[in-house]
């Protein structure tokens, strides 16, 4: 019916605005045609499901923030308590290095009835009221002693620790990965490319806990005997292990950036008589700088967010020092190690979530910078 109308209308004068409008209306009608409830339902279900990823981002932000919120209020109390908080366990005081071994003595293994997960065991101080509360004011102090008699929650050493390990790993990984990317995309033959790329992919598939394990068991001892270090686990050991984890990230993105350099640049350079290495160093590399910058940024982001490697290989002592051969405690490792010991809703618990927010913010900013600023730089250059 509608179709017939359209065919009839198609003969009419298109200069007449009214009839053109009518034609448009009719076409709209044609598109609407039958109302299919099933199709409508499916489309909207799909739409809603697709918005889940947006919802998850918001939920992550809201709920990590919610648990951290009590550090901003003067009356911090246990707003969420579960039965697990009733469990009394041995309190660990002092030395953060000892925190992990001590925890294992609390745990029950092989027991039939009470198997306590580290995250469920909680330390409740009987004399909770006697302990002066910390507040937001000293959150950026220089001492992190959450389990001492007077708990100190200064996250400065943790920030230093995170950046210490991240920068060390970057110093090792960035030159290696960028040079390797340069070689693979400019000097290597196709056959070598086909060997190198899957190997990098294999490396990218290494679970971080495996790298952490090797760092803890093997690297730490080797490095200690080579350099005669005082501490077996330190920022340097963690940095080397972390470098292995971020090499694939930096390599892949740098290689993409180098491959994105227009072929005409290379051809022009070669035609002018430049040698292959001159083209690579003076033409290709400078043109790929924005992408390589992005690769480095994303490498830092990955290194700061990575948990298992630093948890296992950096010694976890909260000294605020940039000395690479001293143990450090990073933000992510602090959350990983201490969340198991805190009381739900406690100030310490909230501070750990607050550290989570900082991690979230840092990685978010780094990704955003890498994506937007760099995209602009690349655009400006190639257009």
């Amino acid at each position: 019916m509608i179709l017939k109308n359209i065919t009839e209308n198609s003969g009419t004068n298109h200069n007449n605005p009214a009839s053109a409008l009518m034609l448009q209306e009719k076409r709209k009608d044609l598109r609407k045609k039958e109302h299919r409830p099933a199709e409508f339902l499916i489309e909207h279900t799909i739409r809603i499901v697709s918005f889940l990823s947006i919802a998850f981002i918001m939920l992550i932000f809201i709920f990590v923030f919610r648990e951290a919120a009590s550090i901003f209020s003067p009356h911090q109390g246990s707003h969420t308590t579960t039965a697990a908080t009733e469990t009394y366990t041995i309190e660990t005081y002092g030395e953060p290095e000892n925190a992990i071994p001590e925890k294992s003595s609390v745990e029950t293994y092989g027991g039939d009835d009470i198997v306590v997960l580290p995250s469920m065991e909680s330390a409740v101080r009987p004399d909770d009221e006697a302990i002066p509360k910390s507040s937001i004011k000293n959150l950026f102090d220089k001492i992190w002693q959450p389990t001492s008699v007077i708990p100190k929650y200064g996250i400065w050493p943790l920030l230093v620790g995170s950046f210490n390990v991240a920068l060390l790993s970057l110093l090792i990984a960035a030159p290696l990965a960028i040079l390797a990317a340069l070689y693979t995309s400019t000097f290597a033959s196709n056959r070598i490319k086909e060997i190198v790329k899957p190997i990098i992919e294999i490396l990218a598939g290494f679970p971080s806990v495996v790298i952490g394990f090797i760092a803890l068991i093997v690297f730490a001892s080797i490095l200690q005997s080579i350099f005669g270090l005082q501490y077996r686990l330190n920022a340097f050991t963690g940095g080397i292990a972390m470098a292995i984890a971020i090499i694939p990230v930096i390599f892949t993105i740098s290689e993409d950036a180098i491959n994105a350099v227009p072929r005409s640049y290379v051809d022009a350079s070669l035609a002018l008589g430049a040698e292959k290495w001159e083209t690579a160093v003076f033409v290709v590399l400078p043109a790929a700088v924005p992408g390589i910058f992005a690769a480095i940024l994303l490498g830092i982001g990955r290194a700061i967010g990575e948990t298992m490697i630093v948890l296992m290989a950096t010694g976890n002592a909260a000294f605020a020092s940039f000395n690479p051969f001293e143990p450090v405690r990073t933000m992510s490792a602090t959350i990983g190690a201490e969340m198991a010991e805190v009381v739900f809703g406690d100030f310490h618990y909230s501070v750990l979530f607050f550290i989570g927010i900082i991690l979230f913010a840092i990685s978010f900013l780094i990704n955003l910078t890498a994506e937007t600023v760099v995209r602009k730089l690349v655009m400006r250059q190639f257009k």
Binding site: E43, I46, R47, V49, S50, F51, L52, S53, I57, I60, F63, V64, E67, T80, T82, I100, E107, G110, G111, D112, V115, L117, P118, L176, L179, Y183, F187, P198, I199, I200, I202, L203, G205, F206, P207, S208, V209, V210, I211, F213, I214, L216, I217, F251, K276, W277, T307, M308, L311, M312, S332, M339, A340, F344, F353, G356, L359, S363, F364, N367
Partner: protein, 301 residues
């Protein structure tokens, strides 16, 4: 100056960058060899099918394998449909440059960049403390059934973490389905949904599989998100309900290497567990690489 250095640089620059490649390759192989040499002696049928015994200093890792299996299974059941539907929505239902696509893509990219430990915090703060405790409240509030870490919360947390992996892989595969096929189907009178089910989905099934495998390989190796959402050091029984905690290979490696009663005595177990974990993730990655290669070949053809 430059002229003097030229012959030297001609060799040095490819040489140094080639050396970087060699260093990386050597590192990868030495890591694998190290784990294989130390791990293989401990691997036996008994090791793979028995529970830990003698206060964690003996026995096998069967519960950890089962726990990991259930974790990635639940994770895939939850995450893959969501990821696939999102990818379908992005490529079939909305204009390429609309704000919806941009927002969702931004969300997915952000999701991919969030540190895994933050997912752990999210799992604890949202699923365990909010959803779980809320469910307990609704059920009467006398017993803690859902408001504690368990395999369901860990799996959902992991599903959120691996969502970007699935979405990217499926989207890439959807792009390989030719526009003509869709048009032909629509022209024959099929509805949009019928076209998706009968034309688009069969065309990108390999991509969905690739995404699932990549997600599994990622989910099997991640430890940080499950640290406080459900992983357990030792459980006498295998998990048999969604509210149970579970053992996990990666968590087992971590806990045995750092908190075992006798770290040196259990070194063999640690290496063998690491080897099993590594072999598993490699197998999955290899499968994904093969499938992805097939998808890419199809797109070129």
């Amino acid at each position: 100056m430059k002229v003097i250095y030229k012959p030297f640089l001609r060799i040095a620059i490819p040489g140094i960058s080639g050396l970087a490649v060699l260093t990386i390759i050597a590192t990868v192989f030495s890591l694998i060899l190290l784990i294989a040499i130390n791990g293989i002696p401990g691997i036996s049928w008994k090791f793979l099918t028995e529970a830990p015994s003698d206060g964690m200093t003996g026995g096998g890792i069967f519960p950890a394998i089962v726990g990991t299996f259930f974790l990635v299974l639940l994770m895939s059941i939850i995450g893959v449909p969501i990821g696939t539907i999102t990818a379908l929505f992005l490529s079939e239902y909305v204009e390429k440059d609309s704000w919806i696509v941009k927002t969702i893509r931004f969300a997915v990219n952000t999701l991919a960049g969030i540190p895994s430990i933050v997912f752990g915090l999210f799992g604890l703060g949202f699923f365990v403390q909010f959803v779980g405790s809320g469910m307990d409240q609704l059920a009467g509030g006398h017993t803690v059934r859902w408001g504690q870490p368990n395999i369901l919360w860990a799996s959902i947390t992991m599903a959120v973490l691996t969502l970007p992996v699935v979405i990217v892989a499926v989207e890439e595969a959807i792009r390989t389905v030719p526009r003509d096929l869709r048009d032909a189907s629509l022209a024959l009178g099929a509805t949009k949904w019928e076209t998706i089910v009968k034309v688009v989905l069969p065309g990108c099934s390999t991509g969905i599989l690739t995404g699932t495998i990549l997600a599994i390989s990622r989910g099997a190796g991640e430890v940080a998100p499950i640290l406080f959402t459900g992983a357990a050091y030792f459980l006498p029984e295998l998990p048999d309900s969604l509210t149970d905690q579970f053992m996990n290979l990666g968590y087992h490696v971590y806990i045995m290497a750092t908190q075992s009663p006798d770290v040196d005595a259990t070194k063999g177990i640690q290496y063998s567990t690491t080897l099993v974990l590594l072999a598993m993730t490699f197998a999955f990655n290899l499968l994904a690489i093969i499938f992805r290669y097939r998808v890419r070949k199809k797109r070129i053809a």
